[in-house]
């Protein structure tokens, strides 16, 4: 009997598509947060593969107002190019109250401009599922995540009592006001993402590639996201660099390192 050989990337892609389709079948009202970062763009790519070329739900950009200008340009280009139904949300209330990196600590600002903004827009559109691009290898709390993970009305993650998840049986319903996070990229590593971007020619912002000896590993808010020293200007060079390095991807993100277990606290309160 013949059998086709599936590579690791094929397996990851298949599993992600499987999860997309389960979610689309199970939930009434889905949205997909999109940061324009590399994982986010892989997510859009996989959604198009799952649904024969189109993304059948809105994509949501939580605009912190501290976005890199390059990212906003990319947003405009990709929205048109992929024919996306884009929703942009800013927590204007918090900005008017003066919340910002100039005056507040990164955990507070991130919570207000990302998590609270997400709460506001979710209350407005009443989505019952959000498709996220988080990966287990990003940080130790994400390493404990499920593919389908419920958040209560307050957006809290009950990480101490997560549901069992096996034999592809998932949590596929949310009570009123609650939502389920659907996480198709959980199994992917940073290198997998790059190999896939390379294999599929997925467009991404140029800031990931080195210019003048620096590049970004991960793109968050501009005041608190630092580039690393690197000469990697192509995907091959980035992959080679990742295979040789021991620096973590989120090392350049201030809010993760603000205090012990900073990420756990942020994520327990609803941060992606």
């Amino acid at each position: 009997m013949t059998s086709t050989t599936r590579t690791h990337l094929d397996q990851l892609e298949n599993q992600s598509i499987f999860i997309f389709r389960e979610a689309y079948h199970a939930f009434e009202n889905i949205a997909m947060p999109w940061s324009m970062g590399k994982d986010s763009n892989v997510l859009i790519w996989l959604a198009r593969k799952s649904f024969f070329g189109k993304v059948p739900f809105p994509v949501l950009h939580i605009d912190t107002t501290y976005e890199f200008p390059e990212m906003l340009k990319f947003r405009e280009w990709a929205t048109k190019h992929y024919n996306l139904n884009l929703i942009v949300k800013i927590n204007t209330d918090a900005r008017e109250r003066g919340i910002g990196y100039e005056t507040h600590d990164p955990v507070t600002v991130t919570h207000e401009l990302k998590t609270v903004a997400l709460q506001q827009v979710l209350a407005e559109y009443k989505w019952d599922a959000l498709i996220t691009g988080i990966r287990r290898d990003e940080d130790p709390t994400r390493a404990k995540e499920r593919y389908f993970s419920a958040r209560n009305v307050q957006f809290e993650w009950d990480y101490k009592d997560q549901p069992p998840e096996f034999w592809e049986q998932f949590v596929t319903s949310a009570a009123k006001g609650e939502h389920v996070r659907v996480q198709p990229l959980l199994d992917w590593t940073e290198v997998d993402i790059w190999r896939y971007i390379q294999r599929e020619n997925i467009p991404i912002p140029q800031m990931y590639f080195a210019i003048n000896g620096k590049r970004f590993l991960s793109l968050g808010c501009s005041p608190i996201t630092q580039p690393i020293k690197s000469t990697a200007a192509t995907i091959e060079e980035i992959i080679a660099e990742l295979e040789a390095t021991k620096t973590t991807e989120r090392a350049g993100r201030a809010q993760d390192h603000h205090e012990r277990n900073a990420m756990q606290k942020l994520r327990a309160k609803g941060f992606l």
Binding site: R6, H25, F52, P164, N201, T248, A251
Partner: protein
Amino acid sequence: MTDPSPQSAIQNPKSSAAVPLKVVFVGHVDHGKSTLIGRILHDTDSLPEGKIDMVKKACAAEGMEFEFAFVLDALLEEQKQNVTIDTTQIPFRTARRNYVIIDAPGHKEFLKNMITGASRADAAILVIAANEGVREQSRRHAYLLGLLGIRQILVVVNKMDLANYSEKRFGEIESEYKNFLVDLSLEARAFIPASARQGENVASRSEKIAWYDGPTLLEALDLLEVRKADVDLPLRFCVQDVYRFGERRIVAGRIETGTLRVGDELVFSPANKSSMIASIERWNAPGMGWPSPEIRLESH
């Protein structure tokens, strides 16, 4: 349509692109599963920069000695009680191949989390502490491995430092547990005496356990195999959804066993109706060149 995924026959050890082996660490609470994993990652120089310092700080804050387990047990609640609550998956590689290591909790309250972790594994490492010996979850976890279809099992007799590295103590546990596994129609590929805390027989051979001439844990791991897809069984295709494009109906789903090709006759359950496969559809994005000229943006 997505297919099952038979792994490539030859794995390229040099490449992070090869299919990883998924291995779960199970066994009774406190017998040293997380410590063993932390030890493996540490001794193979696989931890990211700054990780050990972070663990040192967390241990100091809790007034504890250094705990390798904190690499996995990252939740504040886990560190305060020195217990694993939820399962963790972590990528890892040796010179031979890639792994996904799955840490499972041993406390009986968290059995659902153990099953969640174990259900994805190709193989299991069952950890038994030499001082306490075979306990309730040592047995229950083996039952569950059997139920989940995991046939490749290694047993680590851990905390040998607390049993004076005694060959006799190791032999007692080995024979008791071997007999127990026979009752479940399971068989361990190896019994390995080790000390996670001292790093004996984990990544390097122990001089304190000179009487043992079997593989170290790392060597034994490299002998395990990725579970194969059952392509030779009859087709079982779980339907996820039906997409309608005009007159066309696309049945979306995944092959669990067997294979399918155009022209095959299918029986749909539970209605027992049959139909023929007209085409197999897979949407591939049209190439758009890279980097796309339209999105060339100014530099930062």
